[in-house]
Amino acid sequence: MNKKGFGSRIVASPYILWAALFVIVPLIFIAYFAFTDPSGAFTFSNIMQIAKYKKAFGLSILYSVIATIITLLISYPMAYFMTKMKVSSQKMIMVIVMLPMWMNFLIRTYSWITILANKGLINTFLTSIGLHPVKLINTPGAVILGMVYDFIPYMILPIYTVMSKIDNSLLEAASDLGSNGFSRLRKVILPLSFPGVISGITMVFVPCVSTFYISQKLGGNKNLLIGDAIEYLFNSGPDFYNVASALSLVLMVMILICLFVMNYFTDSEEATVL
């Protein structure tokens, strides 16, 4: 037993070291900066300043919630229909879903600028057929579109994975007991794919809420999010590290709370229904 414990500790040590160096230590730094002033004295003033960033926080959460809901509404039916297809088609669609992820995130976002810009692809097309151009770039819609486009694979993947593992005999049993297609979906597929939905929501909502690049490029100056504020402060020199850290810390705590709420839902789901 002792030997095994020692051996596994040796094997695990690089990972523990890695986690300590690149996860724990930065977290301690953030907490330290958040509660000190530039001279290093303890203070709550950084945390107090967060009120100034209410709007950015609010927009971040609002846009992320909308983007997550849209992503879910697109991904769930897509994952469902994928599982109904031939295995070869499933694989091909999977590749198509993954393909954009192989391209650089910045390039993907930039390409939306050329599509949405005032003289971009869509408006050129609209004017060419005699319609008025529409303002697309620098709107909340453009930011949400960017979020949905960039993060949708993270929603499709977990839902598809969980759904494709549902035993076909369970669906046969449901129809054997009188369920039609819709009731099979509601009473069997939906509850059994719930864990995939939860992890999809988490994997989309968290990066959305802390994103900064999408909002800058597609949202103009009016739609700055909390990620943008943090980036701006860090770029403004060492004097602003403390406030920026405080914002990061609060954002992190918010995300943690969201995750706990999510976990509570999955756990209670299992406890009551299973």
């Binding site: 035993d167 046969e172 449901a174 054997d176 007991l177 009188g178 369920s179 039609n180 509850p191 299973l274």
Partner: protein, 378 residues
């Protein structure tokens, strides 16, 4: 045909990827009977069940339920329920909700559902298990939940796809009896699929023996055992010696140069036939008293009786007897007329019913030298 046929399958053909799975299957199933589809894996028995349940449409052929054509009706509109091989219980629902599933779909009132689930749990001996999660149940308990869930919808026909295969021997025997009792109590037609011939014989009113997508024989367990139609059925059901014979005339058959009286008639004169003799129907006597003679090549004590392999003109017979014998003994055999069953030659002739490989194995285990000598003789 008869009016009380609940199900009729007519000329059913199914193939997967060009391979014939069901090859012109015709079967009538009577109301309230316990019928078993029996055969080796790949014989088409599960496919037949899936066609009745509605999970599969035949390439050709019709299914009639209560006299009405059943083709194309989806599973959820059929008055048929299935007990699946691995039970297929819903892991996200507890025992109560699993059993209530079908009634919920049918939107029956809550009080009625509650009463019904309670009654069903009593029927399958699982009172007090309502709130249990499926993953906390043993195989036998899951089996019972699956039964309760399937009969909660009051089907006219219950399909059982090897439901006992995953249980251990003792539990399997108990469940066989319970299923049989339940079937009689409920008065529902049971269509049971198994590859276990003993299970088929003990439980069924009628047995359908299948192989290669075709029905080989349909009959009561006694018919199937005593009057097998061909070498496949004779070999698949119980132990049997299947030897070549020649029908001299009605009621007289020649085996290994000796004429035996038998009870079979209706064959051509001198027609080549397969003769089935069950191991328990042969008497061992002194060589001079026997109708034919042979040499004992192996003997095994099985408690109730001995299992003796006797070499007669190069063909090895299995004989079950309470008389002991020794390897190398010359013995005579006596076969009563009613122990002889004559079958027409079929595609299965010569494939089954010889125990030479069987005896070789035993010889090699006990005395390898003798086997080589034996082999040289042959």
């Amino acid at each position: 045909m008869a009016k009380n046929n609940i199900l009729e399958l007519k000329d059913i053909y199914v193939s997967f990827d060009g391979e014939k799975v069901l090859d012109g299957l015709n079967l009538s199933i009577e109301d309230k009977e316990f019928i078993t589809l029996l055969g080796p894996s790949g014989c088409g028995k599960t496919t037949t069940l899936r066609i009745i349940a509605g999970f599969l449409d035949p390439d050709k052929g019709d299914v009639f339920f209560d006299g009405e054509k059943f083709n194309g009706i989806p599973p959820h509109k059929r008055q048929v329920n299935t007990i699946f091989q691995r039970y297929a219980l819903f892991p996200h629902l507890n025992v109560y909700e699993n059993i209530a599933f079908g009634m919920r779909v049918k939107k029956r009132p809550e009080a009625e559902i509650k009463q019904e689930v309670t009654d069903l749990l009593r029927l399958v001996n699982l009172e007090g298990f309502e709130k249990r999660r499926i993953s906390t149940l043993s195989g036998g308990q899951q089996q019972r939940v699956a039964i309760a869930r399937a009969i909660a919808n009051r089907p006219k026909v219950l399909l059982l796809d090897e439901p006992l295969a995953a249980l251990d021997l003792k539990l399997r025997k108990d469940m066989q009896k319970e299923l049989r009792n339940m079937q009689q109590k409920l008065g529902i037609t049971f269509i049971f699929v198994t590859h276990d011939q003993e299970e088929a014989l003990t439980m069924s009113d009628r047995v359908v023996v299948m192989d290669k997508g075709k029905i080989q024989q349909v009959g009561t367990p006694q018919d199937i055992y005593n009057e097998p139609k061909n070498a496949f059925v004779a070999d698949f059901i119980g132990e049997s010696n299947i030897v070549d014979g020649k029908m001299i005339e009605d009621y007289l058959v020649e085996i290994d140069g000796h004429n035996f009286k038998c009870l079979d008639a209706g064959f051509e004169k001198n027609e080549a036939v397969d003769v089935v003799i069950r191991p328990e129907d042969v008497d061992i006597v002194k060589p001079e008293d026997g109708e034919i003679c042979g040499e004992v090549t192996s003997i095994a004590f099985l408690g109730v009786h001995y299992e003796i392999i006797v070499d007669i003109c190069g063909f090895k017979w299995m004989i079950q007897t309470t008389d002991a014998a020794n390897v190398g003994d010359k013995v005579g055999l006596i076969i009563e007329p009613d122990a002889i069953h004559i079958m027409k030659k079929s595609e299965y002739s010569g494939l089954y019913g010889d125990y030479s490989s069987y005896s070789d194995e035993i010889d090699q285990l006990s005395n390898p030298e003798e086997t080589t000598e034996e082999a040289a003789h042959e």
